[in-house]
């Protein structure tokens, strides 16, 4: 067997796109690197086998197989590969059909891979088949990324939109925002199941945050009323919003509001668009936040001076976080031999916009 190339600090720095000095400081426990970067450097170093404890020497993370319902675009495969590489691992891609066909042909299955990341919702039957193939190959870890299936007991990584939004409500309250409104666009029916569930999590997180805030302030609200609490979310009609965004010059904001005021529901929502400096808009995603900001500023409402607008992670960044966690789970399972642990939630963090 060819001797394995020894990993040095430069390899780690290159994989993460950081300086050698940062890596050196992080691994030596010196000041200058803290928080998430410190954690990231240490984890990547471990997975690449840098200074591995004798017990785990040679047991590096290796290659993961990324299985998707359909083939990925070059662009998506590219950044997925980059994400996996930053975790000290390599990636290969196959569709679920290719994996199942290979299994039929020679049963080799998952040899050569450390584990499987199932990205994009597979059916229960497809997941069960992957799980069975993994068991035949010595119990390689299989991790579902972005979804969950009650019937198949593997690991899953899910975006924790619920707790992230809950924490956002708390944070805004602490900053003095009394009126926190949730902004979501009516679903056009073109949304995937995964995205629909993510949005439900965020909406419920907002509602639970409003409820918990009310309880903390001493309000005595029964469970039955809780579900309706926080229903003051401003729902913008997708069609009107699109019209506003894409029409040049012809439609101004007053005209938009006139159309918006036509229904009772919209009129009530419009009344809630206060600009007293104590209103914050919590948007279900970054796109909504951008559009809302543009809409408000066009009405002469300054953001953030008059009102705050908070978005949620852009999709690519969110999926990157989920895949990082997926790689971490695979590496941990290889290292410790643990069995599947069910759902792992990946929470967001508060990021201030740059000036």
């Amino acid at each position: 067997m060819r001797p394995r190339k020894k990993i040095n600090q430069k390899d780690i720095a290159d994989a993460l796109g950081v300086s050698n000095v940062s890596v050196s400081n992080a691994l030596a426990g010196r000041k200058g690197v803290g928080g998430e970067l410190l954690v990231k450097i240490r984890k990547t170093a471990a997975r690449m086998g840098y200074g591995a404890e004798e017990e785990y020497a040679g047991r590096t993370a290796g290659t993961v197989l990324i299985v998707t319902p359909v083939g990925l675009t070059e662009d998506k495969a590219g950044w997925l590969e980059q994400t996996v590489r930053e975790q000290g691992m390599r990636a290969r891609f196959q569709t679920i059909q290719e994996v199942l066909n290979e299994q039929k042909d020679d049963g080799a299955g998952l040899s050569g891979f450390s584990g499987v990341l199932a990205a994009g919702q597979l059916s229960s039957e497809e997941l069960s088949a992957l799980e069975r193939i993994s068991e035949k190959n010595g119990g390689k870890p299989v991790v579902g990324v972005g979804f969950f299936d009650n019937r198949v007991p593997i690991d899953y990584v899910i975006d924790d939109g619920f707790h992230t939004m809950q924490a956002a409500v708390f944070r805004l309250s602490e900053q003095g925002y009394e009126n926190i409104l949730y902004v979501k666009l009516d679903e056009s029916g073109l949304v995937s199941d995964i995205l629909r569930r993510m949005r439900t999590d965020r909406l419920l997180g907002y509602r639970s945050g409003i409820y918990l805030r009310a309880l903390r302030s001493g309000q005595d609200i029964e469970q039955a009323e809780a579900f309706e609490l926080g229903d003051e979310g401003v729902i913008l009609d997708w069609q009107h919003f699109c019209a506003f965004t894409f029409t040049t010059c012809g439609v101004n904001s007053n005209d938009y509001f006139q159309r918006w005021n036509q229904t009772e529901e919209h009129r009530k929502s419009a009344e809630k668009c206060q600009t007293d400096g104590r209103t914050a808009f919590l948007c279900e995603d970054e796109d909504t936040a951008c559009r809302l900001t543009a809409f408000l500023m066009d009405r002469g409402i300054k953001v953030p001076e008059d009102t705050a607008v908070i978005g949620y992670y852009a999709q690519e960044e969110l999926w990157k976080g989920l895949f990082e966690k997926g790689c971490e789970i695979i590496y941990d399972r290889i290292r410790t031999g643990k069995t599947a642990e069910g759902i792992h939630l990946v929470s967001g963090s508060w990021i201030e916009a740059e000036e």
Binding site: A28, G29, R30, G34, G35, E36, L38, V39, F148, N150, R151, P153, I158, D160, F162, H163, A167, F170, E174, R196, R197, T200, D201, L204, G205, R207, S208, Y211, L212, L215, R216, D220, I221, E222, Q223, A224, A226, F227, E341, G342, I343, H344, L345, S347, S349
Partner: protein, 352 residues
């Protein structure tokens, strides 16, 4: 070590004590000795020990009200915590707060310098939380053998969380766990489902309630107010469930304790479980009830939760600068006999 001693104008004994983490050296002096050691290229791996190898002591604090009759859940959580600590050769000291001390926010253990970190089991009152964490934040134990400049003693909350707390927390996977048990019911064909639990008394129950909502919304099932039942009278602080006239076909309960009480109320009405109505619980911990041993429930993995709490507090002792996190520990549904499959084609369930 002689070179380090010379550079710092101290004795070799002092350097040896400092590097080995022994008492008798001030924190400031210890830091300077370490810096000098690194500058001189001294191999610190000879002296530095991981927290698991030093005699780390953790303080475990809980409230007496959790350890009373019918609440042995928290005794078991405590046992799992000391087992997890013992596996890592970590010592533990327990303090159980009575009501008055919890209200005062006073704890004997918090002021002990030999404690390196704390695990709080079960929700504590706000006064206690504020006082204990403030004390932690401002304390600068001169004889602490913590090697970092940050002198905070880490605190990990076990089975509860409080927004804004500068500490880690480990909880059961409340939101997704409740989603799972509700999905279990819908997979069995149930469409009319209620929830029993009092969110006003417990953040965990609030999260489980919203997990129930998640499934109902996903399956396009209506959430009916009359089927959202509280499980206690808050004025008298006694269990109380008032059943509506028309009942759903199934109930999700915020805890097994609540499921046990619900079973009693259904029995009074002459209703059988699961023949007339299905019930699913949360905790997988029901004792002293005629329903025990029959209730399908979401298991709370206390062993893993305790393991994670100990791991987090030790990690923070070693790396105080890392961001705080809240860990939600998932588990599985333990199938027993309290849910009837009313779907057209009953699914074959997994064993155990």
């Amino acid at each position: 070590m002689r070179d380090i001693a010379k550079a710092r104008h101290v004795s070799v004994v002092t350097v040896s004590n400092a590097l080995a983490g022994r008492k008798g050296v001030s924190e400031e002096q210890r830091q300077k000795i370490f810096e000098t050691a690194k500058d001189l290229g001294y191999d610190l791996s000879r002296s530095e020990k991981k927290p698991e190898e030093r005699s780390v002591t953790l303080g475990i604090i809980s409230s007496q009200r959790y350890m009373s009759e019918g609440s042995s859940f928290y005794w078991e959580m405590y046992q799992n915590t000391i087992n997890a600590a013992a596996r890592r050769k970590v010592l533990t000291m327990l303090e159980m707060l009575d009501e008055s001390r919890e209200k005062d926010g006073s704890s004997a253990l918090i002021s002990k310098s030999e404690i390196d970190g704390f695990i709080l089991i079960g929700r504590m009152g706000d006064v206690f939380m504020e006082r204990s964490l403030k004390i932690q934040n401002s304390r600068a134990g001169s004889d602490s053998f913590h090697l970092s400049l940050d002198r905070k003693k880490p605190v990990v909350l076990l089975d509860f969380y409080r927004e804004g707390c500068p500490c880690d927390a480990v909880l059961s996977n409340n939101y997704m766990g409740a989603y799972r048990i509700t999905k279990y019911l819908t997979d069995c064909g149930h469409r009319e489902i209620g929830f029993v639990g009092t969110g006003r008394t417990s953040r965990n129950i609030v999260e489980r309630y919203y997990g129930f909502c998640r499934c109902m919304l996903e399956q396009n099932l209506p959430i009916r107010r009359e089927w959202l039942l509280e499980d206690r009278d808050l004025e008298t602080e006694t269990p109380r469930i008032i059943l509506p006239e028309k009942l759903p076909t199934a109930f999700v309960c915020g805890s097994d304790y609540t499921a046990g009480k619900l079973y009693g109320e259904l029995d009074v009405r002459g209703l059988r479980v699961p023949e007339d109505i299905s019930v699913i619980g949360y905790d997988d911990y029901l004792y002293g009830s005629p329903f025990a041993g029959r209730l399908t429930s979401y298991h709370v993995d206390m062993e893993r939760m305790a393991e994670e709490a100990v791991r987090l507090v030790l990690r923070r002792i070693e790396f105080p600068g890392e961001p705080y996190c809240v860990r939600y520990i998932d588990s599985e549904i333990v199938e027993r006999e309290s849910v009837k499959d009313v779907s057209e084609r009953p699914l074959r369930r997994r064993e155990g």
